[in-house]
């Protein structure tokens, strides 16, 4: 039974790829808009040989990582304080509640006016997107810590920074990771959007350039590379979680 299940879970995506290949090769109106997987792979292969592929993936990865760090670190710091200190929460909660629902993509034009079309505006928009998700989850994580552990920290003399390091941060860590994962997903969403203008490299640029030249194979290659980057980053984050949250198993 187990073998059948495994076989099925391998067979079904293969069947879908095959169907896709066949449909894309039968001449029809659809052929113009759908590239067969085999040709997408050929395109990717050629891009890997010329080195273009590494350029695109490398730049996008770098931007995402910088923006991710720029958003996650302050998000954790502010989230911990808001979760732990009621006065800080009371002061910042309305601001967060008011700015949280702004679609981050809608902010990009303003950020470009402010910072120019350079890298800083792309890193900033990702940072903002990640910041809010990590902040909200960190705060929820701290507030969800069983009060007994706060008592333990107080009773055993954990003050100030030590309280954050030994109680608040590790106690909220599982929820912080949930926020980081959401943030990472948003980061890849934003990078494709942010690489629309002012760049000559990146997976987002690849997709938009393919759009301009109506190059469906390159567009699908761009989609594939973006997904690949997202998948690899998420896998790395999950590995980090297993390492840093070893008590959750």
């Amino acid at each position: 039974m187990k073998d059948i299940k495994r076989a099925l879970s391998i067979a079904s995506p293969l069947a879908l790829l095959l169907l896709w290949e066949v449909l894309a090769r039968i001449p029809s109106r659809l052929t113009h808009f759908v590239a067969p997987p085999s040709l997408v792979m050929v395109t990717v292969w050629q891009m890997a040989l010329t080195g273009e592929l590494w350029q695109h993936m490398g730049w996008s990865f770098l931007r995402v990582m910088l923006g991710f760090a720029a958003g996650a670190l302050p998000g954790i710091a502010v989230g911990l304080m808001m979760g732990l200190i009621p006065t800080v929460r009371a002061a910042l909660q309305p601001i967060v509640a008011a700015t949280l629902p702004i679609p981050k993509t809608a902010l990009l034009p303003w950020i470009i006016l402010l910072l120019g079309v350079g890298e800083s505006s792309r890193v900033t928009i990702i940072g903002i997107g990640v910041f809010f998700l990590v902040l909200v989850n960190t705060m929820a994580g701290v507030m969800g810590i069983d009060p007994i552990y706060l008592d333990v920290g107080r009773n055993f003399g954990a003050r100030g920074w030590r309280f954050y390091r030994t109680i608040a941060f590790p106690g909220a860590l599982p929820t912080i990771f949930a926020g980081l994962k959401l943030g990472l997903g948003t980061a890849y969403l934003l990078i494709v959007f942010a690489e629309q203008i002012g760049v000559r490299e990146g997976v987002g640029y690849l997709i938009w350039q393919a759009y301009d030249t109506f190059d469906i194979e390159r567009m699908f290659a761009g989609l594939l590379l973006t997904s690949l980057l997202g998948f690899l980053s998420m896998t790395a984050l999950s590995a980090l979680e297993r390492r840093w949250v070893p008590w959750r198993s």
């Binding site: 007994i148 552990y149 008592d151 333990v152 107080r154 009773n155 055993f156 003399g157 954990a158 003050r159 030590r162 030994t166 109680i167 590790p170 106690g171 860590l173 949250v245 070893p246 008590w247 198993s249």
Partner: protein
């Protein structure tokens, strides 16, 4: 001048009152813990709820005192006030500190309280590392208490890998390792099965005897209180007051198995049970209407 003298007279009165409550058994000259008229009220959903009322008592240095009372009698509140985790509404709490370098008190909590994100070792070392004791000494102390509690094999395990009894051993080891002057124990063995409870009681006695630590131990089990304590403080149900103070006429070192067979322990059990029975019944009846209706609310 007038204010001062009247204040002193008041204090003297309080002392006399406490001695009466203590059954005319004065503690040594300066008690380790001295409570005078301690009352704690909480804001409940329908008016104020008095958890503790007018508690006055002295606990001597090095004494093992057991607080016995029905559930919900404010025992835990009293312990949390002693730990500084809560503040009394009125009354005076006076805890004498002997040594500036050691922590004054550490608590062993009732529920699962060892930190899930730390290994057994790190949990036991927690207080020491918060005080900045150097690593080498930390290691030696932790190793000692892990051995005393039979946790050596589990040093690098995480709490979720341990049984309930093991977790409470870690909690006890953590409190002892930090070497406080006073140990506050809030029904630490209540969630364990009978066999484990007896084992841990014996282990606690073994570790404690010779440490000179003052212990305030909360329990709802009369047996447990007799096994462990020098004195039992029997509390009333609602609100929590001191009803009686009973000396345990057993010598130390003690063996919980021998205590079981001791006729003095059986007599004591009956005596304490008579004191407690009414309170348990009262708590049961009061359970439904435990929140006092604010005056004038009833037509």
């Amino acid at each position: 001048m007038e204010v001062m003298s009247s204040g002193m007279a008041h204090a003297k009165e309080d002392d006399e009152a406490a001695e009466r409550i203590a059954g005319g058994r004065p503690c040594d000259a300066v008690p380790k813990i001295r409570l005078r008229g301690v009352t704690k009220a909480f804001a409940g959903p329908s008016g104020e709820v008095t958890a503790l009322q007018d508690i006055s008592l002295d606990i001597a240095d090095g004494e093992f005192v057991c607080l016995v009372g029905p559930s919900g009698c404010g025992k835990t509140t009293l312990l949390r006030i002693l730990a500084g985790l809560e503040k009394q509404t009125t009354g005076a709490v006076d805890v004498r500190r002997a040594d500036g370098d050691r922590p004054l008190s550490r608590m062993v909590f009732q529920e699962q309280s060892i930190l899930p994100w730390m290994t057994v070792e790190q949990n036991v070392a927690y207080g020491l590392s918060m005080r900045g004791v150097d690593r080498k000494r930390q290691k030696a102390i932790v190793a000692h208490y892990l051995e005393m509690t039979g946790l050596g094999r589990f040093a690098t395990s995480y709490p979720h890998q341990l049984s309930g009894g093991m977790k409470q051993r870690v909690s006890v080891a953590r409190a002892f390792a930090d070497d406080p002057e006073i140990l506050l124990m809030d029904e630490p063995f209540a969630s364990l099965d009978e066999q484990n409870r007896l084992l841990l009681q014996q282990e606690l006695l073994r570790i404690w005897e010779g440490t000179q630590k003052t212990v305030v131990f909360i329990t709802h089990s009369i047996d447990e209180a007799i096994n462990l304590g020098d004195r039992l403080l029997v509390m009333t149900a609602y609100p929590g007051r001191l009803k009686a103070i009973v000396d345990v006429p057993l010598t130390r070192p003690r063996d919980v198995t021998e205590t079981r067979a001791d006729p003095r322990a059986s007599r004591l059990y009956m005596e304490v049970w008579r004191q407690l029975r009414d309170e348990v019944l009262k708590a049961k009846v009061g359970g439904e209407g435990i929140r006092p209706a604010p005056a004038g609310n009833r037509a």
